[in-house]
């Protein structure tokens, strides 16, 4: 499903080279739920961005869902992303659209038929427990609800791979627990999940395979 082979990423800040990832290698099998943890700045977000081809590695190879990410053409990037759901720390909901419209937006962009859109959107909202808030605008939602709406948007296409970048970073414990429960439910359906979090206690509580990054290195891969 995912194969990261000796991947390094160096950012150039003027004349200064800042390494974000160094010789990172790991594999994730289909259906796995992997927690990517480490302190802020350890390289978690960089790694996730490389996985959905938002950026390119400076060195190394990445294969995701059978796509070799480095020599990809733009059209292939679009095809790859149609198979990946992504959730961020900030929910990135469109403020002038309701929860329903936010989730439906993804399907409309991809040209899904209207009847299928309604069915799939309510299906996704049901999975994250947001059916009753379908007509609410983002400003009317709590942070936990906004994050669940973002989760619904990520899974509405039923992608085989879900990448979650600090989805609980802005949430209190009970709200974070709700999100994690939702993620577990999604994972139990066969979706491969990569969850990046700096919250070590939360990572431990999940009792899943955990890949720990420190200053761009993989320092631990256990579980």
């Amino acid at each position: 499903m995912i194969e990261v082979h000796r991947v390094s990423k160096v950012y150039s800040v003027g004349p200064v080279k800042v390494p974000a990832l160094r010789e990172v290698s790991f594999r994730i099998a289909k259906g796995e739920f992997v927690v990517l943890t480490g302190a802020s700045g350890a390289g978690k977000t960089t790694l996730l961005r490389l996985l959905y081809r938002d950026d390119l590695p400076s060195e190394g190879d990445i294969e995701v869902l059978g796509y070799d990410l480095v020599p990809m053409r733009r059209s292939q990037v679009a095809a790859l992303r149609r198979s990946i759901g992504v959730v961020f720390q900030d929910a990135k909901l469109l403020p002038v659209r309701t929860v329903y419209e936010n989730v439906a937006f993804v399907l409309r962009v991809l040209g899904a038929p209207r009847r299928e859109i309604t069915e799939r959107v309510f299906d996704a909202l049901r999975i994250v427990g947001m059916s009753s808030r379908a007509q609410a605008y983002p400003a009317q939602l709590s942070q936990g609800e906004a994050q669940r709406a973002a989760l619904a948007r990520a899974i509405v296409r039923r992608p085989p791979l879900l990448l979650a970048d600090e989805p609980t970073g802005n949430l209190d414990e009970s709200m974070a627990a709700e999100i994690l429960e939702a993620l577990k439910d999604i994972g139990s359906g066969g979706t491969t999940i990569v969850l990046a979090t700096h919250q070590a206690r939360l990572a431990a509580a999940l009792k899943r395979r955990t890949v720990t990054l420190d200053a761009g290195h993989v320092v631990k891969d256990e579980g």
Partner: protein, 294 residues
């Protein structure tokens, strides 16, 4: 999908607000100017074509040929390069023509001791010779005829009219181009504002794997919509102006240019104007580029 793209384009247009209105106004102005000059130019073009058809070169003959020689002379002149048609006008016929022109004063002619008018050949130049150079060459050739006493006629004044028509076309194109360029820049500005306002949508679209065409088509469409609205307004302005001005101008135009009526655009012209507006707007929309990915 089409409904979605059009819906997004309309949403973008609302977002662009006053800048979109400015762009529409500029497109209206540029197309109204362009269309106005085009209308004047095409009517002048009609006048030029009409007068070119009427250009005649008259070869006055030293003496009237006998009726048996007329056919041979006409045939010989008709074979001259640049001649389309030849009509012989005898002395008597010329006198009758003069009487007609003089009307109630035709009696003066009867006081003349003899018919002073020469016989002549009215030569219609071929299309290739209906230019100043062509006409001058033809006049020289006709003057070389042994029977010719004098040759009169040129197409110079028609060419002057033609120059004016070309000048107007050039001015129209120039003014239209400047305003059109400004319109494209304004649509580009409006679209850039839209791009900023819809950056979250664009980010989500890219994230979920929308094609570049799906991302950029609403931008193109909203530009085209601005252009089309501008073109329709320009057309309405021209229709209104034409309906107000044409009836007042037609008597004067008839007197000076010989055109009984001023014509408006043909359906093809209307389509061209609407198409030009849509193209202007679309170009502005397309030129505003979204950020590219690695």
């Amino acid at each position: 999908m089409v409904g979605f793209l059009v819906g997004e384009a309309l949403r973008d247009l609302r977002r662009a607000g006053r800048v979109a209105v400015s762009a529409i106004v500029l497109i209206t102005l540029s197309l109204a100017a362009l269309g106005g000059f085009w209308l004047v130019s095409s009517n002048l073009d009609r006048a030029v074509a009409r007068w070119r058809d009427r250009v005649r070169i008259v070869v006055y003959l030293k003496r009237e040929p006998s009726s048996s020689d007329v056919a041979a002379l006409v045939e010989r002149v008709r074979a001259t390069p640049g001649v389309a048609a030849v009509t012989f006008v005898g002395k008597a016929e010329a006198l009758r023509g003069l009487k007609q022109v003089l009307g109630k004063d035709a009696g003066v002619v009867d006081q003349l001791p003899a018919n002073p008018l020469p016989a002549s050949l009215e030569v219609t130049p071929a299309a290739a010779a209906a230019t100043p150079e062509g006409a001058r060459e033809l006049v020289a050739r006709l003057a070389a005829l042994p029977e010719a006493d004098e040759v009169a006629g040129s197409v110079d004044w028609v060419e002057h009219l033609s120059h004016w028509q070309r000048l107007l076309t050039t001015i129209g194109l120039g003014v239209g181009a400047v305003l059109g360029f400004a319109a494209i820049l304004t649509v580009t500005t409006a679209t850039t504002l839209v791009l900023h306002a819809r950056r979250h949508e664009t980010e989500i679209m890219r994230l979920v794997g929308a094609s570049e065409v799906t991302i950029r088509l609403p931008l193109l469409l909203q530009g085209m919509m601005q252009g089309l609205v501008g073109a329709v307004l320009a057309l309405a302005t021209l229709v209104l102006t034409y309906s107000l001005v044409a009836p007042r101008l037609e008597p004067l135009v008839n007197l000076t240019l010989g055109l009984s009526q001023l014509v408006f655009f043909t359906p093809l012209g209307v389509i061209t104007l609407l198409g030009a507006g849509t193209l202007l707007g679309g170009l502005g929309g397309w030129l505003a580029r979204a950020g590219r990915e690695p």
